[in-house]
Every structure is written in C-alpha cells, then in structure tokens.
C-alpha cells in the first residue's frame, strides 16, 4: 500500500519537476524571443512563476515522500511567489512605460492608450 | 570540481582586476566586488567541495562539509560588505565634490 503511494508520489514529483522546468525554460526563451519589454514581462511573470511553483511542489512532495518532512516554508515560498509575481510585473511595466519604452508593434503603429491619455492631460 | 571552481574564482579575479585597472569609479568598484566574490569562492574551494551534508549536525549523518571556511567566508562577506558600502558612498561623494568620476582626472598634485 505505502509502496504504491510512494510510487504515485514519485511519479508526481517527476511530473511536477519536468513541467515546472519546462515552463521555466519557456519563460526564459520567451524573454529572449519576445520583441519588447512588455511582451517579455508576459513571459517572465507567468511562465516562470508557474514553473517555479511546479518545481517547489515537486520538492515538497519529494521531501514528504522520501523523508516524511512537511516543509511549510516551501509552501509559503510558493504562495509568496504567486502573490508577488504580478505585482512585480506591474511595477516593472509601469517603470518601463514611464521611462519611455514604447510597446512593440507588428506594423510599426504603436497602440498605446496610456501614452495617449498622458498626452491629452499634458495638453490640458 | 575544485579545479573548475578555482578557475572560476580565477576568472572572477581576472575580471575584477581588469575592472580595477579602469578609470571610471563605478567600474573600479565593480572590480573590487568581483575580487571579493573570487576570494570567497577560493576560501570555499580550499575547504574541499561536496564532502558531506551541510555542517548542521543531524543524527545518522557522518560526513559534513568543512565548517571552518564557511565561518571565515561569513565573516569576510560581512566585512567586504561594510567596506564596499563605504567605498560606494565615498566614490559618490568624491565624484560629486570633484565634479568627475574619472579617476584619471583625480590624480592631484603634490601641493594641494
């Protein structure tokens, strides 16, 4: 019985680790491939965050299955990352925008409602 | 692995020294930071790598990593931090006061 459970848990570990790592790698590739800082933010905040959560869950399960350790701090770490990632992304996005980075566009026409509204305000 | 780490630490020293030989304060200070990283890595390496568990005693574990280099590095990290912080503020003040961050222009003459 316990062996089966352990086996299943191990499978879980492997699955979590692999998917997690896959997402992390994808995020990095995204950061390389995407054309501007905003699109890169998409990649890094989302894929990397999830990936890391996957790896951590894998580690959590592993430590529980192999050593019977329930590591609260790991869970805390996951939650923390999940909660903070979008905030970080928002902050970087805002910083990028206010430091004048224009969003990339496929046809050269920038669609930027924010910049437009700022320009309007200035005119007023 | 020790050899690779020695090489890495050597690379840190190389890049650190190269930066140290530049003119701009920022580069120079970055150089010192790299050198201290290199030094710490050397200490760690000299204590042999991966020879056991982290040096936190647990029942049933016989082999531990050498704790002494770790203690020494810890002391050194804190000290380097203090020095680097001071150096940073000093560099900032010096470049503000002298109007340049180019050390080559901060040679001075003997009677000032």
């Amino acid at each position: 019985m316990t062996e089966t459970i352990e086996f299943i848990l191990d499978i879980f570990v492997i699955v979590f680790l692999i998917t997690g790592t896959f997402f992390v790698l994808s995020a990095s590739i995204g950061v390389i491939r995407f054309p501007d800082v905003y699109t890169r933010l998409h990649a890094s905040t989302k894929a990397a965050t999830l990936g890391i959560a996957g790896i951590m869950i894998g580690a959590f399960i592993f430590l529980y299955a192999e050593h019977g350790i329930v590591s609260g701090k790991l869970i805390l770490g996951i939650i923390f990352v999940l909660l903070t990632a979008p905030v970080s992304a928002h902050m970087i996005g805002r910083a990028a925008h206010s430091s004048g980075v224009k969003p990339w566009s496929h046809d050269g026409k920038t669609r930027d409602a924010y910049a437009d509204s700022l320009a309007e305000k200035k005119q007023q | 692995m020790e050899i690779i780490m020695s090489i890495l630490a050597g690379v840190l020293f190389t890049t650190g020294v190269y930066n140290l030989l530049q003119k701009q304060m920022l580069r120079i200070i970055i150089g010192t930071a790299l050198i201290s990283h290199g030094a710490h890595l050397f200490i760690l390496t000299m204590g042999e790598l991966k020879r056991g568990a982290p040096p936190i005693l647990e029942d049933g574990i016989e082999n531990y990593a050498d704790p002494l280099p770790q203690a020494l590095i810890l002391t050194s990290i804190v000290i380097s931090f203090g020095v680097t912080s001071l150096l940073l503020v000093l560099a900032y003040r010096a470049s503000k006061e002298n109007g340049t961050d180019n050390m080559d222009k901060l040679r001075g003459s003997e009677n000032d």
Partner: protein, 494 residues
C-alpha cells in the same frame, strides 16, 4: 584569571570607542574622557608589559576553546611592547587632537574612530590567529577609513578612494592567501601553522604562499614596489590623523612581517629572506629619493615612512637575532618619531599657512620651540646619536653586516644621509632665513602643538640615552624570535 590580561588592551579601547560614540556631541566631555581613558589604557598596558617581562608570555584561549581551535591571544614581549608604543603615540595624538581638529570633525566620531583604530592595531599585535589578524586589520583599516574621510573636502575624498581601494585589494589577497594556507596546513592558528610548516620543511607551495603573504603585508607596510599608494593619502587628512596613520598603520604591516617570517616561514630563507634584503635595499633607495623629490613638508615626512620600513625589513631579511633586535628597536623608535614629525609638520603647515617649503622662511623667529623640536626630530630620523634612531640603526647595521650584507648596509647608511638632507632642508629653508613679518604668530597654538611633540621626543631621547633600560629586553625579543619553538610551545602547550 591572569591570562585575561591579554584581552584588556583590545577591550578597553573598544569599549572606550563605543562609549565615545554615545556622547560624541559633548566635546568637552568626550575630549577629557578620551584623554583619561587613553592614559588608563596605557597604564594597564604598562602593567601587562611588566607582568609579561617577569612571568613570560600571557596566552588567552578565548572562550576557553583550547588552542588551536579557538582564537588565541598571545601577549608576548614583542606584541605588548608594540601595544605600549602604540598607546604612547596615542597619548600624544589625543592631546594634540583638540587643538588641531575643527569641532565638526571631533563631533563626527573622531574619538570613536581613534579608539577603534587603537583597538585594531592592538588586536593585530596580540592575536595569535591568522584569520583573526585579518579581522583586526579590517578593524584598523575601517577606523582609518573613518578618519581619513572625516570632514572630507575635495582632496581628502580623492585620496581616500585610492587609499581604500589599495587596502581593499590587499585585504582580499590576504583572505585568499589564508585560504590557500589553510588548504595546505589545515589550520589558521599561527603557532600550529608554524609547527606544521616546520614538520614538512616548507614545501614549494608554502614558500609561494609565504611570498604572497609578504606582498599582503608589504603593501600595508609600504615596501618597494608596493608603497605608491601611501604618501598622498597620508597627508590628506588632519595632521593628527596623519600622525596616527604614519605611526601605526604601516607598522602593523611590519609587525606582521616580523611575526610571520620569524615564526612560520623560516625554512626557505635562501628564497624568502634573501629576497627581503634586496627589497629592503630598494625600499631604502626609493623612499629616500621620494623624500627628496618634494617641497611639500608633509609629503617629505610621509615619504620618510618608506625608507624606515626598508630598514626594518632589512632586519628581518638578515635573519639573525641582532637583525630582529634592531628591527624592533627601530620599529618602536619609528612609531614615535613618525608621529612626532607628522604632528610637527602639521603644526608648521598650520602656523605658516602653507605646506609648500618654497613659501615659508624664518619661522624660527616666531616659533623657536617648534623649530628646535623639528631640528631634534630630524636627527632622530637620520639616526644620529644619542637618540633612539641611532641605537636602532646601529643594531640593524650590525645585524646586516654580521650576515655579510655589507652592500645593503652601506645603502642603508647612504639613505640615512638622504633622509637627513630631506628633513634638514625644511629646517634650513623653512625655519632659517629672514623673519617673515607678514606672519602674525600664534604662540598659544604653537605651545599647544609643541607639548605632545615634546612628549614623544622625550621617549625618543629616553630610548636613545637610556637604551640600557630597554635594550636587554628587546634583545631578548630578538633571541626569542630566533627560536619560534618558544612561541609554539607557549600557545599549544604540548
């Protein structure tokens, strides 16, 4: 526990420094407090010196961790004698400080930095642990950084950066070298390192490490070709700070060289010590040339640090008990006279309104006392009898000649002449000559400056004229250094 004596010279200034930070704004209090505590500390150290002289080295195993596992503090004659000299210099400086510093500088923790500098220096002298030596180096360096940037204007800030950078580099080289040494001998306790190095007769890698350590300490000690950083940063701050630097900082480097190359790395002397002798010769030459190169009186004194260090290194390099005795005698003498000279040129520059020799003349008409103090200092510096410089030089040269290093000894003599020329110029061009009527003499300030200097010169004369009271003990240290087994046994107690 009598062995706790060893920690007092470190702890007293440490506590004093911390407390001084607490009421740093109350200048009147903090001045007297600092002066009193310096005197108390000196008294304690004097007692320790007598105790050690009577009963032998005091070894403190901190936290009761037996050597070599814990950090040991070793108060032997060498370290305590140097700590005492440090405190004598400190007395002069702490009484000079209120007259020389402006109140802003005093308020901004001068006295704290000052005490911690003493802490660091004393700690470096006393510790028996190589890594702990690094830590104390950092304490004294950090305190010196604090002092050098104190109230920094353009020049000071500029020179401080260079000073910090070079020292930072050499510190990092130091820790790395300690790591290498640890890898080979598996310990950082100096006595045990010495024992272990002796057991394997200093294999090649150990000699290489020894040379690296030499460069670490040599940079701090300002030896050829490592001294470039020293002169200008040393004259940038207030004279009292220059005096503390000139008297103490490089000397810690010299002390470390003496310790390490008498205790630990003594088995490949054909490589190491022979090398030192020639480095010493070059240091003597280039230092003296440097001192002659400038008309800035502060810079002249700063450059004069270098040949003095060359003399001491010569004493280490010849590796005989006479050489060590001379090096130590000279070291003690030099700590005192360098402090006196820095304080003096500081006072002169302050009173003359310039440190450019070409712009001063006839000062002796206004400030005769300072003039004569300077005159005497010049001869102490050049090693003219009967002052302390002479005794040190005599023993050193004897040591060098005993070791058949005649050429280097003669270089030493030649550099003495250049040294004399470099400082007597200041007397001739600055003090002699027609009275400069444009100067409105500040007699009171001059007296205030002169007293601490006279205090130091008193010791210099005492060490010369009263050499008989000191020499046998210092000779004892020289012999003690030639037998490292004594140190090892007193620490490891086998």
């Amino acid at each position: 526990m009598i062995s706790n004596l060893a920690v007092l010279p470190i702890v007293i200034p440490l506590i004093a420094g911390v407390l001084a930070a607490l009421f740093h704004k109350k200048l009147k209090v903090v001045r007297i407090y600092s002066q009193v505590l310096t005197l108390i500390n000196t008294a304690v150290v004097t007692y320790i010196l007598f105790y050690v002289h009577q009963n032998g080295s005091v070894v403190l195993e901190s936290g009761d961790w037996m050597a070599p596992f814990g950090i040991v503090l070793v108060a032997d004659m060498l370290s305590v004698a140097l700590v005492l000299t440090t405190n004598i210099v400190a007395i002069a400086c702490v009484f000079y400080a209120p007259k020389s510093l402006d109140e802003k500088q005093e308020e901004f923790y001068f006295y704290t930095f000052y005490f911690l500098l003493i802490t660091g220096v004393s700690g470096a002298f006393i510790t028996g642990d190589l890594f702990n030596l690094f830590v104390f180096f950092e304490v004294l360096l950090m305190a010196s950084y604090g002092l050098i940037v104190l109230g920094g204007g353009k020049v000071q800030l500029r020179e401080s950066i260079k000073y910090v950078l070079i020292n930072l580099f050499s510190s990092m080289l130091f820790v790395t070298t300690i790591a290498f040494l640890y890898s080979v001998v598996g310990t950082v306790n100096m006595a045990q390192i010495a024992e272990r190095v002796g057991e394997v007769e200093q294999t090649g890698i150990l000699t290489t490490i020894a040379i690296m350590l030499f460069f670490v300490f040599g940079t701090k000690a300002a030896l050829f070709p490592l001294y470039y950083w020293l002169p200008r940063p040393y004259i940038a701050p207030n004279p009292v700070i220059s005096a503390l630097f000139g008297a103490l900082l490089t000397k810690v480097g010299v002390y470390s060289l003496i310790r390490v190359f008498s205790l630990i790395f003594v088995h490949e002397r054909d490589v190491t010590h022979e090398f030192f002798v020639w480095i010493a010769a070059l240091t003597l030459i280039f230092g003296a040339i440097g001192a002659l190169s400038t008309n800035n009186i502060k810079l002249v004194v700063a450059y004069n640090i270098i040949p003095a260090v060359g003399f001491m290194l010569l004493g280490i390099g010849v590796y005989n008990s006479t050489g060590f005795t001379g090096a130590i005698y000279y070291l003690i003498n030099d700590m005192i006279i360098k402090a006196a000279l820095f304080l003096l040129v500081g006072a002169i520059a302050y009173l003359a309104g310039t440190s450019d020799l070409r712009k001063m003349r006839g000062l002796i008409h206004h400030y005769p006392l300072l003039g004569w103090l300077f005159f005497i200092s010049a001869f102490v510096l050049a090693g003219i009898p009967p002052f302390s410089g002479f005794i040190g030089k005599l023993i050193l040269l004897q040591g060098a000649m005993e070791a058949n290093h005649i050429v280097v000894a003669i270089i030493g003599l030649a550099s003495s002449l250049l040294i004399l020329l470099s400082v007597i110029r200041i007397f001739i061009r600055g003090f002699w000559g027609e009275k400069d009527e444009s100067i409105i003499p500040d007699k009171k300030a001059a007296r205030g400056f002169a007293l601490p200097v006279a205090f130091l010169l008193f010791f210099s004369v005492l060490l010369g004229v009263g050499a008989e009271w000191f020499y046998p003990s210092i000779e004892g240290i020289g012999e003690y250094l030639m037998n490292p087994q004594n140190y090892i046994e007193s620490v490891l107690k086998e």
